[in-house]
Symmetry: C2
């Protein structure tokens, strides 16, 4: 069973990488890191009912389990190369297992293919639905983006729009709120289920950003990590937060702001650059299709403060998602 499942994904993903000296099928894969490159590695797990709703389509689960990991590589400015997949699946009927595998493989491969990512190892086990993916990418030595490195005076920017994924989850959990089929609703749910790791943006930011992190737990929490590791504070303006028209069309300003500040799962990049570079960076990221919006600046001190349009300071109650909070 193990080999058929993993093979199913492998045959739909990159085959022709010459840095894969021995692929799936032995006790381990044998890989060659290109000369003069460092290896960036990360692992992330998705658990059914915690990281995605129970009735999520298998193809969306396949996509997302890879996307959240590629997002970690994007945040480092690394170029993806290889992945390992550990999939734990409940025992059900052969038909439903096969349907899950087909869908999962399709979604995983749809995201893997354009990045020439090769699946080089895997393990399938039976148990409650849990997916761990480990990803490996390349980055020139000393060029990786880091959380530490933000400097006082830096401008804080984010790619894309914020809050969409959390709003999409809210709509799934409150089905009567907006009718299924509403294009704005479907857009927000798509943003939840099919996040786009900002890989090209990460590479473009390599020589330009002082600090970078992807937004998985929510802007406040993740920008908070940049601040903590850089020994600085940040002030952001809630009026500047980029929000999609879908989000603003279906939610009032307060809800939209809360989703944008504290909602997780957007997988946009939050980064800081010296003021003199902002225009160039924005032009480059606009060319890459995701855009970048300035939302605040790095200041002395610690922690993240949010200024309201009336000039008052917001004390947000939620500090982003904590999947492991007891």
């Amino acid at each position: 069973m193990e080999f058929r499942l993993i093979d199913r994904i492998r045959e739909r993903t990159a085959q022709g990488r010459d840095d894969v000296r021995l692929g799936i099928g032995d006790d381990a894969a044998l890989l060659a890191v290109p000369e003069g490159q460092e290896l960036a590695v990360a692992i992330d797990t998705l658990v059914e009912g915690v990281h995605f709703p129970r009735d999520t389509a298998p193809a969306d689960i396949g996509w997302k389990s890879l996307a959240v990991n590629l997002s970690d590589l994007a945040a480092m400015g690394a170029t993806p190369a290889w992945a390992l997949l550990a999939l734990t699946l409940p025992k059900t009927s052969v038909e439903s297992t096969q349907a899950f595998i087909d869908g999962f493989a399709e979604g995983f491969a749809q995201l893997a293919q354009p990045h020439r990512l090769a699946l080089v190892g895997g393990d399938t086990t039976s148990g409650p639905l849990t997916i761990s993916v480990a990803v490996h990418g390349f980055v020139p030595p000393g060029k990786a983006l880091r959380r530490a490195g933000a400097k006082v005076g830096d401008v804080v920017l984010v790619t894309g729009t914020l809050g969409d994924a959390a709003a999409g989850l809210y709509l799934l959990q409150h089905a009567s709120r907006v009718e299924a089929g509403d294009a704005r609703r479907e857009y927000l749910i798509e943003r939840l289920n099919r996040p786009t790791p900002r890989l090209a943006a990460g590479v473009a930011l390599r020589a330009r950003a002082n600090a970078c992190q992807d937004i998985s737990d929510g802007l406040l929490a993740d920008l908070g990590h940049i601040c903590a590791q850089s020994g600085v504070g940040a002030e952001i303006d809630s009026a500047w937060l980029p929000r999609s028209s879908a989000l603003l069309g279906l939610f009032d300003e307060t809800s939209a702001r809360d989703f944008a500040l504290s909602g997780g799962d957007d997988y946009e990049l939050c980064f800081t650059v010296p003021a003199a570079r902002v225009a160039d960076v924005q032009a480059d990221l606009a060319r890459l299709g995701c855009g970048a919006t300035r939302i605040g600046r790095i200041v002395e001190g610690e922690g993240v403060r949010v200024r309201e349009p009336d000039g008052s300071w917001l004390e947000p109650g939620r500090r982003g998602w904590d999947h492991f909070a007891a």
Copy 2:
């Protein structure tokens, strides 16, 4: 929570590897593969109730989750370097979570330390107890041991003794069979809970074995993989199977043979070498403390056949464990 747990393990494992350019704490780790080495990577998952009994001690779970992965590196002849850990833990009380974490970290570190293995990344999530570990090791280009490569006439050998882990599991599942405290019982359970990856043996076999695999699913299944990938068959003699005195002391010959042939979880190495090299290899592996026993030979054809002491051919009913069998 995530960082405290992973930190707990990190602080007990290797810190001073200069090939770890950036460790835990950012979106990804940054690693440097030594020049002229290939990277061997593998991932394996343990699920509570499937891969270990529900009341297994946390320290044993920590040890075993690393051991089964290091065993994959051993089977390739690779030297371990780095690991990633994805741990999914049920939400329970703070005290019992902390106790689990402490124990898990201790067991993981006990095995990691002597190999100077560094934990370079991790993710902790809440859900049913599931552990995925990805390991990375180094091997000189072209020198890795493979499953494919067994040649007709090769001698088949195994390290250590076989069947202990399966017998240990049997004793846990049939508590009245042997009294707790019996030294033989405790030995077999220790073999189940604390398998020893044969890393030094794997390195020693690098230039000598034609094919190698670790025994995770049972001798018949795993030697079957060598045969399938090498396009050969194998004949083994059941009388030659190395069995521990604990196993032979507590079980009759038929049961002991069945455990040795089909029991999983031994994590010994099964390998083939040309007949001319057998004595040298056995001397070397004896020096490394695990020993190696010849159990049969590679023949033309396909599949694994087992000869009984009376000269008849056994048709084993079980083909090793299949954790994923529907």
